[in-house]
């Protein structure tokens, strides 16, 4: 029995487990609480062997490992890595409403066969089978505009054109002004 670690740290570990399972939206409070208590007791045992790790971390490690093991047992797909198995499993839980349909099943030693079947049926594929087709643009002849752009300016850019337009507009108004002054009507 660990006598050094303050009780407050174990309280925090329990609160964390409860929060985590509640966020998973799996089952009711009673099941989640009993689950948390069970995992906490496992965590205490592990902590007595290695007290260098905090109760919170130990408890959450136990919870993660339990989830990995449980989904390995529940999911049919064997090619999944342990790390990805939990993600795919929880995806399936969300997709099948398993948390509501089998509220006491999470981390149970004997998961119901229909739950296993339901979770295994779910696919994480977000698209149908690929049917790759080539789609490439055809060469476009832009005709006169392209010819004008290439032959007249070589490098077509709007900025010098606008500058030139600005200068010519200024000249136009200057001439107009001078005209009005020189030949008043």
């Amino acid at each position: 029995m660990d006598t050094v670690t303050p009780q407050s740290e174990w309280d925090e570990a329990l609160a964390r487990l409860l929060a985590f399972f509640a966020a998973l939206e799996f089952g009711g409070i009673e099941h989640r609480t009993s689950l948390a208590m069970r995992l906490l007791s496992e965590a205490r045992e592990r902590h007595s062997e290695n007290s260098g790790i905090s109760p919170v971390e130990t408890a959450m490690d136990v919870a993660s490992e339990s989830l990995e093991k449980w989904f390995a047992q529940v999911l049919a797909e064997s090619h999944l890595s342990p790390a990805n198995r939990v993600a795919v499993g929880l995806f399936a839980v969300r997709a099948t409403n398993a948390g509501t349909v089998w509220p006491a099943a999470l981390l149970s030693d004997l998961p119901p066969a229909d739950l296993r079947a339901a979770l295994s049926r779910v696919s994480t594929r977000t698209g149908p089978d690929l049917a790759i087709t080539s789609m490439t643009s055809r060469k476009m002849d832009y005709g006169a505009m392209q010819v004008i752009a290439q032959e007249t300016w070589h490098k077509f850019a709007w900025a010098p054109i606008l500058r030139a337009a600005g200068i010519w507009t200024a000249i136009f108004f200057a001439v107009l002004f001078a005209y009005g002054r020189l030949f008043p009507q």
Binding site: F91, S137, F156, L162
Partner: protein, 708 residues
């Protein structure tokens, strides 16, 4: 008897185009002659020549709008156009046998997640009612780069598939590299899955189409194998702000006449608006991939507005493009305020100006050239109008100044035998007769518009407000055109807003400072040099001076709600019994989104904290082969920084990079849940406190002073 497009004769088409373009030509010629006549009898000065050239360009645009409405009005009067694609099938036509595979694609980019998925659900349910759901698959094609949007989309997709039992029928695709924006997104779909489908119905994120219309579009395509694309006429809906209500009212009352007039002349050579349209996939994939522009600047070679070009390419390939403008059941939403509307125009302006390259390209159908020309003129006309106004004002001021006899206000206007008065009258007629005709056509069925009186009042108010807004819009369009042509980035820092907020007056002045500044300068100049012109230009000056106030007022949902309560700007779709079920469904179910993650960095927090969202996101990430050590080290440094220093330590790109990396997310998820509260950064500690509170637990040790 149904219409058979393949039996249209060349004479029939030629007659329609000759009458339509002949009318525009004659009207423009008449206007130009009146203006020429109004100039001094002793000859035309260089300034007047400049005005005349500008006038021809601008007047043809107004004349085109006018004749579109006139031809539309006439066809409506005679019971509708016989030559329209919707009449190629019976009113109650259904598909026989196995329905052809049709993909409904929604490219999305940081959109309102709840609204997007409600739209999909509404359309799915609509299709179920038609009994033809089996032929349709939905593809939500996401380019969203905001974490909160991306995460929300994944969860919404999963929940929707679960709700509708639509796994394997509603698909979600998130692109890692959003190359070539929307057109690239659709092309990516085509390359991956296009060959599995015969048709593709392209939607916008805010589009809704009724199940009945979706099925009818497929039936039209099946009936007409030569048709490559059918565009529907989307009606604006769900308007709450005053601005949106103005727009949706205008689109409901005026647009049908413009649409009917368009169909009158272009027939099988319609335009494509990029959404709410059905496309035959094989020719689309074979012929319509966008070419690069011959711009020497490689950043500007991509075509921003793909739709008009795609329609032109489809026509070039020999397929027809029709406009099913009389079909009800096609909807979209408009921008909530002037600021957002101009933000959208800024993008469209660049796209439309790029189309200029295609104007003289060989092989482009005449009708498509005209669509391109009209698209270019939507924006180019603004600087031309501004020039015309400046030239006109300077010219009149000079005439007044140099004329010894013209001391009376407006004297310059009457020295040409009344030609100017006729010209002004003609211009006003071209601008306002279309509205009057649309009003006349709507009055007999005005009850869902609030009755004849309110319909007329709405039209009048709408006209006044747009008349005042137009000068400010002209200035901004001019700015967009000039900057785009100069190859400069056009800044526009408006945010996409919900209907509820609107623009504050100070904010409105911050965004719309230019029109009042120009207005003050113009008013001062006119007062000093040409006071007699003040009355003539008063509507324009008032529009400039009042722009920030108008932008602020029209952005208000409260004003929109007030108008709705008083049955102003009502449209039939706002009456529950007249609206399609799909619209009612979306309206009734909006606003139920869980706001739990609605705070800065909420997307990243959700991916790290919420075990279900985290799991769904990681499960959907495609597993990548091993990355180089350099990349791994970089990602490792980012995730440590995120957990140790909080999310504000990373920029948006770094957040995004972590969200693409499953290993980093797993590590972050583990660290968040495993660290004692005392070892968490205060920001993460606050999130932990929130999660704990949300699930009915609370712990005083988790509370800190920091707020998200």
């Amino acid at each position: 008897m149904t219409f058979q497009p393949e039996k249209l004769t060349a004479d029939f088409v030629a007659f329609r185009r000759a009458t339509f373009f002949g009318a525009i030509l004659a009207t423009t010629g008449l206007g130009a002659w009146l203006l020429w006549k109004s100039f001094r009898p002793e000859g035309i000065s260089p300034l007047e020549w400049a005005q005349l050239v500008l006038f021809v360009l601008l007047f043809q645009q107004i004349a085109t709008g006018f004749w579109l409405v006139i031809f539309g009005f006439v066809t409506q009067l005679v019971g509708g156009d016989r030559a329209q694609i919707a009449r190629s099938i019976d009113e109650n036509a259904t598909l026989e046998g196995e329905p052809p595979a049709t993909a409904i694609v929604l490219p999305i980019y940081n959109e309102d997640v709840e609204r997007v998925f409600l739209g999909v659900e509404a359309m799915w349910r609509g299709l179920e009612k038609t009994g033809q759901i089996e032929g349709f698959d939905f593809f939500i094609l996401s380019d969203s780069n905001r974490p909160e949007n991306w995460l929300g989309e994944e969860m919404a997709w999963l929940d929707l598939c679960k709700k509708l039992n639509a796994f394997g029928r509603i698909f979600y695709r998130k692109r890692r590299t959003p190359r070539n924006s929307k057109s690239g997104n659709v092309a990516d779909f085509c390359r991956r899955w296009g060959s599995r489908y015969r048709y593709m119905i392209v939607l916008d994120a805010d589009s809704i189409m009724t199940g009945n219309l979706l099925a009818r579009l497929v039936a039209m395509m099946e009936r007409n194998p030569r048709v490559g694309l059918i565009q529907t006429g989307p009606q604006l809906a769900f308007g709450r702000t005053f601005f949106r209500r103005l727009q949706q009212f205008a689109s409901k009352v005026y647009a049908p006449l413009f649409a009917a007039g368009s169909n009158y002349w272009h027939l099988f050579a319609s335009n494509y608006w990029g959404h709410n349209a059905i496309i035959r996939l094989r020719p689309f994939m074979d012929y319509c991939d966008l070419p690069e522009l011959p711009d020497p600047d490689s950043r500007r070679r991509h075509i921003f507005s793909h739709d008009t070009v795609e329609a032109a390419l489809m026509r070039k390939a020999g397929f027809d493009v029709w406009f099913a403008y009389t079909e009800a059941g096609s909807y979209e939403e408009g921008p909530p305020n002037l600021s957002d509307s101009l933000g959208r125009d800024r993008r469209w302006c660049l796209g439309n100006l790029q189309h200029f390259w295609f104007l003289f390209a060989p092989g482009i159908d005449f009708a498509n050239r005209f669509h391109i020309w009209m698209g270019v003129m939507v924006y180019l006309s603004s600087p031309l109008w501004l020039l015309f106004l400046i030239f006109g004002a300077v010219d009149l001021a000079l005439k007044q100044r140099f004329s010894l006899l013209s001391s009376l206000p407006g004297e310059g206007l009457v020295q040409s035998g009344g030609a100017v008065q006729w010209l002004l009258l003609a211009t006003f007629a071209l601008l306002f007769v279309p509205k009057l005709l649309a009003l006349l056509l709507t009055i007999p069925r005005s009850k869902p518009y609030g009755g004849a009186l309110r319909l007329a009042a709405s039209t009048l108010i709408e006209t006044v407000i747009w008349t005042l807004l137009a000068p400010a819009i002209m200035l901004y369009y001019t700015q967009f055109v000039v900057m785009n042509l100069a190859g400069l980035h056009v800044p526009w820092n408006a945010q996409n807003r919900s209907d509820d907020k609107g623009l504050g007056l100070v904010e409105s002045f911050r965004i719309f400072w230019m029109p009042p500044s120009v207005g003050v300068i113009a008013t001062l100049c006119l007062s000093l040099y040409a006071p007699q012109l003040l009355w003539l230009l008063a509507p324009i000056l008032a529009g400039w001076l009042l722009a920030p106030v108008l932008a602020c007022l029209t952005s208000k949902a409260t004003l929109g709600d007030w108008a709705r309560r008083h049955k102003l700007f009502l449209i039939p779709e706002e009456t529950k019994s007249l609206a399609p079920e799909e619209l009612n469904f979306v309206e009734d179910n909006q606003g139920r989104e869980d706001p739990a993650w609605d705070y800065p960095f909420g997307g990243t927090a959700r991916a790290v904290i919420d075990p279900l969202t985290h799991a769904v996101h990681v499960a959907l990430l495609r597993q990548r082969p091993e990355r180089p050590d350099e990349t791994e080290n970089y990602l490792a440094s980012l995730r440590v920084k995120l957990i140790e220093q909080g999310p504000s330590a990373l920029d948006a790109r770094q957040h995004y990079a972590l969200l693409w990396n499953a290993d980093s997310l797993r590590w972050l998820h583990h660290e968040f849940w495993s660290r004692p509260a005392a070892h968490l950064h205060p920001w993460w500690r606050d999130r932990l406190a929130e999660v704990t509170r949300r699930v009915g637990l609370s712990d005083a040790r988790l509370e800190t002073d920091t707020k998200p």
